[in-house]
Amino acid sequence: MQPVFAMKGVTKVYDTGEVKVYALAGVDLELFSGELAVLLGPSGSGKSTLLNILGGLDHVTSGQVWFRGKDLTSLSDRQLTRYRRDHVGFVFQFYNLVPSLTARENVQLVTDVARNPMPAAEALELVGLSHRMDHFPAEMSGGEQQRVAIARAVAKRPEVLLCDEPTGALDSKTGIQVLETLHGINREFGTSTVVITHNADIQKIAHRVLFFQDGRISRIHRNEQRLEPADISW
């Protein structure tokens, strides 16, 4: 398989003046095209920092990151914006929907600026929300809001989907629905998907599981037998 992302010796240090915090302490990693990878680890182990760096939201302190052979660490802010606009879809724990826009309009926020987007309605249909398109976030359940967020992320037909605790704020049943959506997109479009979670049960749906500890990858586990989201519970 072709690597989508490659990382070498990546460190990220937060310097508060008094103390230096190593969020990432020398990470080497490859993520492959069409892969669904789960990043597992305790709070503060560096998962979100890694995701932010992959998504072009944050800069490394040292080391290098390549996206399809292109060095992300050498890109300017303007180029990083372009990179995010064209290639990356984000899903967040708290959905981050714009409360003043309806489901459809939240998706349009992306389709307005993306290069080759799918129609907003189609993206919402993909996550099973055709009937809720004109509802505002406040009128939807948490699961529905997260599915809108997923629709928004996939509407630009991204190559990578970066999900930070997508089920963190949801109950088990709704969480599984959301995972099914992500799983389906990964399978159907071959979108490389990275999911951060605290929840060890979710690892069973991944191709690979990366265990994080103190800013490093402590272990990588390949699932020989993947489960469908419907087959897991927590």
């Binding site: 995010r84 606009r85 981050n96 714009v98 309009e105 600026v113 630009k156």
Partner: protein
Amino acid sequence: MQALDRKLLRDFRRLWVQALAIAMVLACGVSILLTAVGMHQALDSTQDAYYGRNRFTDVFASARRVPNSLLPELSAMNGVLALDARVSGFASLELPGRVKGAVGRILSLPETGMPQLNVPVLRSGRWPDVPGEVVVNEPFAKSNRFSPGDSFLANINGNKRALTITGTALSPEFIYTLGPGALMPDSETFGIIWMRPREAEAAFDMTGAFNDLTLKIARGVRPEEVVFQVDQLLEPYGGHGAILRDEQGSHAIIDAEISQLKGTAMVLPPIFFGISAFLVSMVMSRIVALERAEIGLLKAIGYSDFEVCLHYLMLAALVAFAGIAIGWAAGTWLARSLAVLYARFFDFPFLIYNVSYWVYALSALAALLTTTLGAARAALKAARLAPAVAMQPPAPPRFKQSLADIVMRRLRLSQPTVMILRSLLRWPFRSALTTLGLALAVASVVSSAFFSDALHEIVDTAFFQSNRQDALLTFTEERPEEVLEEVRRLPGVLQVEALQYAPAVLRNGPLSKRVAIEARKPGSEMVRIVASDGSVAEPPPDGMLLSERLAEQLGILPGDNVEVQFTTGRREVVEMPVAGTVRQYFGLGAYMDHTSLNRLFRQQPRVSAAAIAMDASREDELHRALREIPAAAGLVLMTDTRRSFQDTIRQNVIVMNSIYITIAVLITIGVAYNGARIQLSERARELASLRILGFTRGEVSYILTGEMMLLALLAQPPGWLIGAWIAKAATDNFSSDLYTIPLVLKPAAFSTASLIVLTAALCSVLIVRRRLDRLDLVAVMKTRE
């Protein structure tokens, strides 16, 4: 429409109350700019067009009697383009159905039809054809309900004759018309009468002569030189001294008005724009803080820094658009209302009211620029926010121990009070600007409220202390003092005092001023001169008293000498000591002793006017008797003058006070409402936590209202100071040679201002407090900061 634009519109709708509060302040600036510049333009271009079309002259001169043979010499003067010689004189009028007399200024028309200069505009009827026919100025006709065909009696130089009105006219010379001895225009008792030349000449004994001259001079010629030449030529014929436009009564008033409008346009709008910029900055900073996560999201999904920055600038622009729309509507309406008001004061045959598009564009541009500047800091902050940082909650504010904390501990203040004070100290810049905004609201009321106290002071000094007579009887020309005996014998007259006027130019080095020196007898009880300290002053036998403003303009201090060049009689130049200065609100007074003046002129004592105390019940009898006295030019009743002055000024003061109070209230609401909303949004969690801990609604709202009301209280002293300063500037701006407005600052003006602003602030905060009562405690605690 793009989704981001939709967000913009919905955000704007959600914030509409706050946006409206800001837009109203902005609208004040826009509308005042539009009104002041618009009216300035209207008056200026109307005046320009009127002067141009009707050939308003540059130099005005009068003399006792000048033979027509001098005309060729006058016309040949260097720089003179055209001149009009005419006969001018006053006549007392008897109007049908009216007991009180009126005064008319008769002007002769040229032999050959229309005057070349100061061309009157015929408004109705026709020009006179036969003897006995006249045209009168339109306001006089309207006030007395005259129409062509009506007649009235005129007592001209002792001959009573009936005059028939054939038409009405307006003239660029008489846009603002003051009768002799009057302080305010009263078109009911003073009119301009245009008469056929032969008739006027005969009536005033001017056959083959003239006594009034107007000249138009060429560009590039120094008008002072023409004045000098005219004075030289007219001197042998009793010339009274030529004057330039600047000193012509009607022109001076309009010019003063035009420059006042300019001053208003320069000073007031920037204040409103400044406050709006601050409000926008305050609200936008808070919005950016609240939408931190959304900013992070927009950047995460690929919106550029520029697009994010623009998004927030556009939000501010929407506020500007609202302000511009309201400002344009209010400004257009205000300017039109003002135009109507001007039309009432000034007699223009037309008003070019055509506010240019550039004035609208300028006001809109200023408003947009203001809000953009106000929003710039917040929008740039949004643009600079790194996406990964934006997704994180902001770092909590760092409170550090300071001297203030030690003081607060010593004072054993309650925790809510400490919270209020810490918040003020934590954001000193914001607190200071909020205080300044509210201080400007206080200043707005103070700067207008003082006017009614000033009016009271003017009326008290002018009518109850200085001019205590019931009426002023003016004579057509100077009379021997013995005439006072005749006046004393008139029905209803109880007491008579002499007044004599001597036109002169006062000089001190390069500074000079043309005035009418007033001579009075010592011990006058009615016409008194009141000194600055309130005591009654008498001009010394060998010196002068000057009004404070005149002394200031001439740079003269009591004890200095002033050069006096009389412009009548022997036209002598004398040096005279200035014994002191006196407070005076009307005109530029210069006073001398009656006996000394006549001794100086080497003549028997003469009088120009008589101050009269009269029995009010016999007023009608007096008016009737005066009709038979040709020397009497007119009787000005002080009560009428005072009433008309008070009425006019009071109307203006009421309008002005209402406008300034509205402005103050709008500023207060803008500042206090937005301030409180922002505090509520910043402190929602904190306040909800306190409620959960068992604080009552009252206790929690104390924190919210306390901070804003404390700032409002702190704003009072600077507000009073700024208000007093603006009032001082306003008195300087409004004062002219015609009148001076005293700076009278009474505690009531300050307390009214404070009461209005504190009440408006409290109401604004209480509206926000209602939101606090509706706070969903659980929901607030759940929201992520």
